[in-house]
Amino acid sequence: MQSKMKESDPILEVQNLFASTDNLPILKGVSMTVYPGEIHAIMGRNGCGKSTLSKIIAGHPSYNITKGNIKFSGENINSLEPEDRAQSGIFLGFQYPIEIPGVSNLEFLRVSTNARRKYLNKEELDTFDFEELVKEKLELVKMDHAFLSRSVNQGFSGGEKKRNEILQMALLQPKIAILDETDSGLDIDALRIVASGIKKISNAQTGIILITHYQRLLDEIEPDYVHVMADGQIIKTGGSDLALELEEKGYEWTDNLIKET
């Protein structure tokens, strides 16, 4: 398709990936490659393995890679710790952001931002400079300053949690962002805010993977590629029209595709 982008090296390569948890196979041979500037969407029914894929890329300790590789900027990261992945520029937007009672949001954001900055050989920010930076980024997601003094995600509404995720993405400036159902639980206004935030943060060097059930996020952010997942595999890849087709024909269509393959 858009071959112009492929002049540079890929950011992320997932190569024939098999993974399991508690000896239960979940991924059964997933391959995909993301180049700078590309937006990929992964769609599929609940339980097809799309969230698992995102967690494995981020390094969740509960999953074992049994076969295949994940490469980030050309390097195999199969056994890299999650924090090392994050520092080198992999960002996972959680479907259900975790509440951490007692840990202040501001402190959390500052420590993680500095961890990333340290990796990039940038100067670490003190509380004062960091507040300045956060203020600027808060604008992006239209969040109130008061969010910073609360505990991480605790007592946040669904929409607030998702905006907090995008705020983190803005602060960490990842090379690749995997956004797991960032659209779920959002009303239309919140969806627009989140989508415009994502668009502003990403640029020609960033890769984005959107994991979603529905078309509505893809109306806001048009993907270059759409992958349909079922039973731990990508069963079909196409352009943005594939999502529309899927929306129209429903997931039963993909069920039939599995039977065919």
Partner: protein, 405 residues
């Protein structure tokens, strides 16, 4: 166990006071607590006997207060060193109780002691020399914060006793610091009496050094409409035992307790609490946290007693525990004994390790596992530490803890 021998043979002290005689008498037939009773069952026997390894001499009472800056707005007292205390200001007074009154009060207390339950207090009063018993009467308003130190120096066993009367309508912030130097044993007994409408923010920070031991007993009586808040922290003792007994003598009082104990290496630290509601409309909110690492053992036993007279009691007790190593052990036993029917009581207990999902979340944001664990631990601590008066402003306790854990 030299001391126990001396108790048995009645050769403990050369010139015993009346109080010492009474306690000695009580202890003679049964000099040790019943190891089978619930209160002592889990106590490590060899560690407990280590408590008595040191001699109870009186020499060299000087000691260095761990931090010297003494802002003017804090009153500092070291039990055993400050002989005469009388502070009279325009709106308040802190006054040492006269000896007769103090003796009378203590004797009356002893007369209602249950041998097993109050064993630590009996031992304390048996060993405490006259100058190590401090009695204070506090009244008035706008009282500056008070710090009271008890300490045991290396190679010694010390007993310190503190009796405090908080007069009507009085509001006090008081931090008690118990320090155990290397190879030492400290017995601390504290008796608090809160008059009507008084309010006390009480902090206890107890920390030891290598091979230090502590028996810390706290007895509180609350009159009507009083409020008693306790924030406590015990750590770094080879063996420490913290006993809390609180009685709301006529109900209608408020008690808030937030306590924490941290054990490492092969330490054993335990907390026993007994809250007795002796009248209606009492309120209790209690949380006790334990963190056990390495081969250590943390114990919590909490008992809430709500007799028939204590209608409309609202009590909650929570025991939260973090078990951080495969070789550590945590025992917890939150208990309720209720006879009144119109009450709201609940208790809960959890034992777990650090939350893995929370850790993973932080790690995906580039925070290292060690740092993420620290953040989680610090939030676990924060709730307790912020409740300890005075300390939080001037002590970098939190940092100290985090860097050591």
């Amino acid at each position: 166990m030299e001391i126990i021998e001396r108790i048995k043979t009645n050769k403990l002290i050369d010139n015993p006071t009346d109080i010492q005689k009474i306690c000695l008498n009580k202890l003679q037939s049964n000099p040790l607590p019943n190891p089978k009773s619930e209160l002592w069952r889990l106590s490590n026997k060899s560690k407990f006997s280590n408590f008595f390894e040191y001699s109870a001499n009186e020499k060299n009472p000087n000691f260095d207060i761990p931090y010297h800056s003494n802002p003017k707005d804090i009153i500092r007292i070291v039990i055993g060193l400050d002989s005469q205390i009388l502070l009279k200001k325009e709106n308040y007074s802190i006054q040492q109780l006269n000896r007769d009154k103090l003796d009378k009060y203590i004797k009356q207390k002893i007369s209602c002691f249950d041998q097993n339950e109050h064993w630590s207090d009996l031992l304390n009063l048996c060993l405490s020399s006259e100058k190590n018993i401090l009695g204070l009467k506090i009244k008035g308003s706008k009282i500056p914060p008070i710090e009271i130190f008890s300490h045991a120096l290396s190679n010694s066993l010390k007993a310190k006793t503190l009796v405090i009367f908080v007069e009507k309508d009085c509001d006090v912030k008081l931090l008690q610091v118990n320090l155990g130097k290397e190879n030492s044993s400290l017995s601390q007994s504290t008796f608090f009496c809160l008059e009507e409408n008084s309010s006390v923010n009480h902090g206890i920070v107890s920390y030891g050094e290598r091979k230090s031991h502590l028996l810390n007993s706290l007895n509180v009586i609350q009159q009507k409409n009083s409020e008693y808040n306790l924030g406590s922290l015990h750590f770094k003792f080879n063996y420490a035992r913290f006993e809390i007994r609180i009685k709301q003598s006529a109900g209608n009082a408020k008690t808030n307790i937030k306590g924490m104990q941290i054990t490492k290496n092969n330490e054993q630290i335990s907390t026993y609490t007994k809250i007795n509601f002796n009248g209606p409309n009492g309120f209790l909110d209690q949380i006790n946290k334990s963190i056990a690492n390495d081969k250590s053992h943390a114990i919590f036993e909490g008992l809430i007693i709500v007799p028939k007279i204590a209608q409309k009691t609202d009590a909650s007790q929570l025991s939260r525990n973090l078990l951080l190593s495969n070789f550590a052990q945590i025992d917890t036993k939150p208990q309720l004994e209720i006879i009144a029917d119109d009450v709201k009581c609940k208790h809960g207990a959890t034992i777990s390790q650090l939350n893995e999902e929370e850790l993973f979340y932080m790690r995906t944001r580039g925070i290292t596992l060690t740092e993420a664990s620290k953040l989680q631990l610090s939030s676990f601590f924060q709730e307790i530490i912020s409740f300890i008066p005075i300390s939080k402003d001037r002590w970098d306790l939190l940092d100290k803890l985090l860097n050591e854990n």
